[in-house]
Subunit: 217 residues, 2 copies
DNA sequence: ATTCTTCTCCATCATTTGATGGAAACGAGC
DNA sequence: GCTCGTTTCCATCAAATGATGGAGAAGAAT
């Protein structure tokens, strides 16, 4: 028994999937209220009522988009995890940063939509995500931030949030930051990776990791 | 010759100022498209046309809000700069983090609006900020990230962006993160400060600062 | 050929939303 | 008390927006 979302993910050329894809991009750029169902329909070159036929009300489509990006993100993270498994921490971090920035620069709407969710109230009530806490804990485990694998500490979870958001910021902010810095796309990507490593790695590399558990040191 | 915004900042009980204040809060919560002029008017308990009388069209009010928050932010930053002047870098960073988180938790719409600007397209065209590059350079100078005070390097500016965004993230994301982490407000604030210091300080403390200029080390 | 299902579009609604004109209230100066 | 500039509200518009009903196309099953 496949959910509507699962169907759309399976047949990528279906109308359902095409609508979802356009919605993903547009919701990512303009946010929930900034995107109209007509904008999405126009992008897919269909009538607005075809959109409603497939996805029902706007809020439902939006929720489907959110689930969709988290599915993709989970897949990518487990792919990353396989690659970094067993390596020393600083190496794990650098590889993760490279792989994730590559992926997110190719799919910037993922970063956009995640940050949107964190920061915006949506006049329409939205179901709270189960995805995020799960994802965060997975990353924390994969980074070895917690000795107890089943109970991830608050500090560890907040550190993961900080790391992931720092990455998302540079992806989502490209349209603003890149012109401001006067960089070409390629140069920007390189600089982002550099900056992320410069900021994020030292905190966890070497002895720093030990200090994590003795706050206010 | 005072601009409308300056007037509103000077007489904080004036209708103009009351509208601006409400607009600031609501635009911060719901974004540009998520906030209606009627919501703002209702919040101030005035008729919608009174709002238009004072501020003209919605976009103009929004721009005024943006200028307003950057004015406040600049004032705060120069206040911080006075306090940290002359101290060693890691101390400067810790004090800055404490002061800025205090301030931004009291005025979360500042973080919200800044992040909004970075990440969202606004169907209506908006003039690009002059405030941001200036602010970034000021902070970079105050952190001593650049030897040449008049020409701040791209690396330095990106590092400052990363730092400031990481702070904004935790402020703006409180509504999402705090319930997720199961923390009380006070506890959350403490944890945020801890996490920020844990992540941000090591990169710049000690010899790390030197490595900044030899990338891909 | 017919039926049935699935899909798509046209026409249309009710609401919401940005915006304005004009009348009333208010207050300062005379 | 009257005048004049300023401020506020009521009534109203036009456009945008979320959403739906129903008619028709397209294709498969019988």
């Amino acid at each position: 028994m496949a959910t509507p979302l699962e169907k759309a993910r399976m047949a990528p050329d279906s109308m359902k999937a095409r609508i979802l894809k356009a919605a993903r991009r547009l919701f990512g750029q303009y946010g929930f209220h900034g995107t109209t169902t007509r904008m999405i329909a126009k992008d897919v070159e269909i009538d607005i009522s075809t959109l409603y036929y497939h996805w029902g009300e706007k809020g439902d489509l939006y929720e489907a988009v959110i689930r969709d990006i988290y599915e993709d993100l989970k897949l990518k993270l487990s792919e990353v995890e396989k690659v970094i498994h067993g390596r020393p921490l600083s190496e794990r971090m650098e590889i993760s940063i490279d792989m994730m920035t590559d992926y997110l620069f190719d799919n910037p709407e993922i970063s956009n939509l995640i940050l949107f969710r964190y920061f915006t109230k949506t006049r329409h009530p939205t179901g709270h995500d189960i995805h995020v806490p799960e994802l965060i804990s997975d990353v924390a485990r994969s980074m070895n931030l917690s000795e107890d694998k089943s109970r991830i500490s608050t500090s560890a979870r907040m550190q993961v949030l900080a790391i992931m958001n720092t990455i998302h910021n540079f992806i989502s902010g490209e349209g603003f930051f890149r012109p401001m810095l006067g960089l070409e796309k390629k140069e920007y990507v390189v600089r982002v990776r550099e900056t992320l490593k410069f900021i994020l790695v030292p905190a966890f590399a070497g002895k720093a990791a030990l200090r994590a558990r003795s706050p206010a040191g």
